[in-house]
């Protein structure tokens, strides 16, 4: 039995409370409990659930929620989502460091002492600018390609996800202009001002966690509100039956583009957050496997379902970040073996995706709607009867 109205209204307040509670717990854990714990507890938490990994997890949740708009809501396949992560990261690199030294601009910025040249804009504005810039790129890439059938769309996005990071890898000399500092990347990034009283540098992971959580909560809210409104219905209608949607007055191009733009915006947010998290932007980190991991988060979590996608992001980013390594170490020491577990990462994610596609296409925590769609034989969209 589907009770959609309950999804939007009653759970709205509940999720906010649950989310805040979880974030508060983690903050207290990392800020107070762990530092004041005996060494073994400290080592255990930092080994298996380090706060660096938790922050990265938040980045992945933001990214996955963004991709969920494109893939889960609107049903458009995107295999190059990492491109937006990269672009968002570089926007942070350009606007929050001394890298563009020809300029000296400071808009509520927070440059570290001695690094005042370059552009320094406050983190919150950079978030919006990066999101907007990525949304623009989403539209640029989407406008010519969204007319294509989904297979071709997948190919084009795949190419986009390959090309953009390559541009940054090779971008230290574009007609004499240094766009990206090549493989050396851009670092350091300006510290974030924590509500005006503290600079958050590379080691303030716990306070940064609070800020990232706020952004993540914002993205959850965006996902839920858009879903329950006019645009969300149009996205789902397109996912369900594109032709019928257009004949009910839904403009296909514009609606698909808006899904792309919103997804890309979230990708940009994730990029900025990640840049401040690792205190830099490094082109080589943006590779295809990231697009696939994020896609796996959306697919595994149950396409379209915000909570499922969040769980998918948490689990997979943990496996990808430290889980596999730690499990491997444990196994290696226990059985006295010497297996390089993290090197099986792709094998695991790849097999997982394939197995999911075969046996549980709707993900582990599916929305009822996706479950039904996925197990239905593909409808023939060509001939309208």
């Amino acid at each position: 039995m589907a009770r959609h109205t309950s999804i939007e209204s009653t759970s709205n307040r509940r999720w906010a409370i649950g989310f805040t509670a979880a974030a508060a717990f983690l903050f207290v854990l990392y800020h107070w409990i762990v530092p004041n714990s005996p060494q073994p507890v400290h080592d255990f938490v930092q080994g298996w659930f380090s706060n660096a990994n938790t922050n990265e997890m938040i980045v992945y949740i933001i990214m996955a929620l963004g991709l969920n708009v494109v893939v889960g809501y609107a049903g458009l396949l995107d295999l190059g989502f990492v491109a937006f992560w990269a672009i968002g990261g570089y926007v942070a690199g350009w606007l929050m460091s001394s890298f563009l030294g020809n300029f000296q601009i400071n808009i509520f910025g927070n440059p570290a002492p001695g690094l005042e040249m370059g552009i320094h804009i406050t983190f919150w504005w950079v978030l919006l600018l990066a999101g907007g810039f990525c949304a623009l790129w989403g539209i640029i890439i989407g406008a010519p390609t969204l007319r294509l059938k989904s297979d071709y769309l997948a190919l084009v996005t795949l190419g986009f996800g390959e090309i953009i990071p390559q541009v940054f890898v090779n971008g230290q000399d574009i007609n004499g202009f240094n766009l990206s500092n090549g493989t050396q990347g851009i670092t350091p990034i300006d510290p974030i001002k924590f509500f005006g009283f503290r600079d958050l540098g590379p080691f303030d992971l716990d306070y940064k966690f609070v800020i990232y959580s706020v952004i993540c909560a914002g993205m959850v809210m965006v996902s839920l509100r858009l879903r329950s409104g006019r645009l969300g219905r149009a996205w789902l209608a397109i996912r369900e039956d594109e032709l019928a949607a257009s004949m009910m007055g839904v403009p296909l191009m514009r609606t698909k583009l808006s899904a792309y733009a919103v997804g890309a915006f979230a990708g940009g947010l994730g990029g900025v957050v990640f840049a401040t998290h690792i205190n830099g932007v490094f082109a080589e980190r943006f590779n295809f496997s990231i697009s696939i991991i994020i896609l796996a988060m959306v697919v595994l979590g149950g396409m379209g379902n915000v909570w499922g996608v969040m769980v998918g992001a948490i689990v997979l980013s943990w496996i990808n970040g430290i889980g596999l390594q730690q499990l491997g170490n444990t196994i290696n020491t226990t059985f006295n073996t010497d297996i390089n577990f993290p090197s099986f990462n792709f094998l695991i994610f790849g097999s997982l995706l394939i197995l999911m596609m075969i046996f549980r296409r709707e993900g582990f925590i599916p929305e009822a709607r996706t479950r039904l769609v996925m197990h239905e034989h593909d409808r023939d969209n060509e001939e309208v009867q």
Binding site: R225, R230, D241, M248, G249, P251, E367, T370, E376, Q385
Partner: protein, 260 residues
Amino acid sequence: MANALQADAITVQFGGLVAVNDVSFSVPEGGIVSLIGPNGAGKTTFFNVLTGLYKPTSGVVRLGDEIITARPPHIIAKHGLARTFQNIRLFGLMTAEENVMVAMHSHMRSGILRTLLKTPHQRREEAQAHARARELLDYVGVGRYASEYARNLPYGDQRRLEVARALALQPKVLLLDEPTAGMNPQESAAFVEFVRRVREEMHVSILLIEHDMSVVMRVSERITVLDQGQKIAEGTPDEIKSDARVIEAYLGKSGVEGGR
């Protein structure tokens, strides 16, 4: 009388196959007219041209005074041409209510920002859309399924839901493609009444494709007969009933009258 919808000399070719051949046709304002013909006659193809899905090889379609030939489907829909589908095409995994609300898209304004900010305008618009959707669901008699996924509805109710969704577009002309397919005689009889009621209360002109002759003869003011893409007859039910070419098309060639 003015025509709500007028199609002039429509021809549609698929490669070598001429699915619709030089067919002219009109729906008078406030009228109920039918398009009939044996299987494969080109009826659905004709609908697809009217609704902008197919570009006709030649010919012009007018909705009111507006030329809508080959304009994008969503524009045509917005201008007031709504349809149902021969094979039901609901948004299966959206609720019945949401299905109806999708069709209100072009009459609503709220974009991304208003939705995110939940502005008073957006909330009012949503509330109105919800209320209107409930009304329409009740109107066609599937109100109790409002929160149910469309694909979980019984077959006949899915057809009703399609009508509700089409009405949500506030159409001037409503195209129904075999709306009684799969209905039993009682349901079909009730449907005839329903179509008349919709015409009166929703102020729409109705064009239906129908195989069930008892429905066609009772509900239509005028009937057009297609056979192999050609218009072979046009007239009142009585004229059509006694038209030799129609009888031949139905009985002589394929004998599929009352088929599905």
